[in-house]
Symmetry: C2
Amino acid sequence: MSPKSIRVCLSPALLPFYDLSDTIAVVIDIFRATSSMCYGLANGANAIIPVEELAECLSYRSNGHLLAAERDGKVVEGFDFGNSPFSYTKDKVEGKTIVLTTTNGTRAIQRCIGAEAVVIGSFLNISALTDWLKNQSRHILLVCAGWKNHFNLEDTVFSGALVHRLKTTDIELDDAAYAAESLYLEAQGNLSTYLSKASHSKRMQHLQIAQDVAFCLLEDQVSVIPILKGHELVPLTLPHLL
Amino acid sequence: MSPKSIRVCLSPALLPFYDLSDTIAVVIDIFRATSSMCYGLANGANAIIPVEELAECLSYRSNGHLLAAERDGKVVEGFDFGNSPFSYTKDKVEGKTIVLTTTNGTRAIQRCIGAEAVVIGSFLNISALTDWLKNQSRHILLVCAGWKNHFNLEDTVFSGALVHRLKTTDIELDDAAYAAESLYLEAQGNLSTYLSKASHSKRMQHLQIAQDVAFCLLEDQVSVIPILKGHELVPLTLPHLL
């Protein structure tokens, strides 16, 4: 049993051109939404509800949920926190449901509805995710959240890391998967240096969140795979074959 | 004098997210539309009129123009030829105006209207194009025609070749420009082998047009730079500083 194909969607704006049927969509927003989602669920959050708009996020206030909102890399005023992974520690999130809206990542998740399954990827859970995907028999679509519909290096390089670990001679790759793997192979020796030229890294330096960036590039900090059930991201219960 | 920035748009579907003001757009459809445009103008065609739809192309029949139409890699029935460069030789095109519609390339050109200038790139005219772009003071946007709104390797690798030749420490690059350059540097030693894994190359093999593919990867066969004037592509007259 192995995936039929691996494709990489380099921007959420390109999602309408992909057939999502019989497909596992892996949403990737390395700096920082999907990294924080993995970390939050690993630290005992009950669920994370990704929503597109600030107003929708605020409407959950009365439910006693934690409300998290990021726009342009910053926490939005009036919300409990943004998408820094260090806001998703055990003491803050255990036993809680988090409602989260971000510039790119949560929107990408919403646009994947229609896929057979929507799961969340980051370097933090890369091995757990790889092991699970290897045993699936569907198509895999790696969805880079990018930055405001633009291509970004970090999400693409992470896609390439997954392609590199998953590919076999039997699995069809699209051009973007080949490109992503090439970029990963160039970057892998020194990921943070390679990504330091990325626009988002520069944006992050400006925001003085170098610690976040470094943390989001660490492999295998958690073994959870967030999966969308209804409108909530919850930990996938293994083996969960699709 | 040098360009202010170099950005790479990986799919025509992403063009709405770019500001085209003060920008020179370079449209790239290596296999085969923009290669054939360069070759056709170099071989004495008066002009090439890129149109989006077959019906619009046919409407030029009474003007005595040559009508060229490609869809899914094949010549459309009822048209004089498609987008094989070998249809754009001197004996066929000298002194003629060609009206051309293709799956990807001509549509990408139409979507760039609004830029300060729209020019055409291919390996066939890469040095002439590089020399001209080096002396411009605008932003440069390299527009990959891709395949049906999807990313493709050959247009991106060509973009990377241009980035590599043009970049200086003063010119801002976006993430896609860095990625394209990385892919080019990996591919440059053996371009045709690297691109043989590309989906479009496979499609081309199937269509038995290996000769076209090989020709489109030859550098510096011509010195013409096609530029859009009104609705026609004509040879740019140097120096033409913008």
